[in-house]
């Protein structure tokens, strides 16, 4: 599964994109956040306020309870500030 990080999530994780094997215990986007946050200090810092983080699956906005399938691209980013 491809994971992408933008803005300060990219900076804090030190990663713009990576490919991971989804553990069997991780079913939803919210569970993926918890799993990533447990990886190391940078990830913990990036995800320290999960309620502020926006999630996109296959480039569509989803909520934390979105159930992930094995083939998806998941992206994490802060609230958007375009325009």
């Amino acid at each position: 599964m491809k994971i992408r990080y933008f803005a300060w999530l990219r900076e804090r994780t030190g990663t713009s994109e990576e490919t991971i094997e989804l553990p069997e215990t991780v079913k939803t986007a919210g569970e993926l956040i918890s799993w990533l946050a447990a990886r190391d200090e940078g990830y913990a810092f990036a995800f320290e306020q999960p309620e502020t983080i926006r999630i996109a699956v296959n480039q569509e906005h989803v909520e934390e309870d979105h159930v992930l399938s094995g083939t998806e691209e998941v992206a994490f980013f802060p609230p958007m500030t375009g325009g």
Binding site: R4, F6, A7, W8, R10, A56, Q59, H61, A75, F77, P78, P79, M80, T81, G82, G83
Partner: protein, 161 residues
């Protein structure tokens, strides 16, 4: 002229600047059914002289897809004759263009409302993030999302249209 065909729109996400006049002419040239043109141009402000540049990061692919989704909503909701949306990314100095929305219609309220609607959704729903680089400090700061922008976007949910 027919309601059965939806108006086409143009969406571009690009590093290069845009030309408001040229983009406007594409929507009006050779046609005489356009009664109203509303253009919105968003520019980089210098924040009282403190800003060196804005850096705009985006999610390639999703940015175009999200803008196109809202453009499609706009052409279905308002009787537009044309619609163009261009959003830049990369490093943008004060005074330079960031975003352009042009809506044309036979009627002024449609052109005003569609462009206003699109800007509200570009602000809150399109995957772009602004980082401010100030003149005095070497490190940039991510611009925080504003509650007022969410409130602006929420206006369109309960609208009479």
């Amino acid at each position: 002229m027919s309601n059965s065909t939806t108006t086409e729109f143009t969406v571009r996400v690009q590093a290069e600047d845009f030309d408001v006049l040229a983009e406007t002419e594409i929507l009006t040239k050779g046609r005489k059914d356009v009664g109203a043109i509303v253009t919105f141009t968003g520019l980089c402000r210098d924040e009282g002289g403190t800003l060196e540049a804005l850096e705009l990061e985006h999610y390639p692919g999703m940015a175009e897809a999200q803008i196109s989704k809202f453009a499609q909503q706009a052409v279905e909701r308002w009787p537009l004759t044309g619609l163009t949306i261009i959003h830049r990314f990369g490093k943008i100095p004060p005074g330079d263009n960031i975003v352009l929305v042009i809506a044309t219609s036979s009627h002024r309220r449609a052109a005003f409302e569609a462009s206003d609607f699109l800007m509200d959704f570009l602000k809150t729903q399109a995957p772009f993030w602004k980082k401010e680089h100030l003149k005095e400090t070497s490190e940039g700061t991510w611009v925080e999302a504003k509650a007022v922008d969410d409130a602006d976007a929420a206006r369109w949910r309960n609208s009479r249209h």
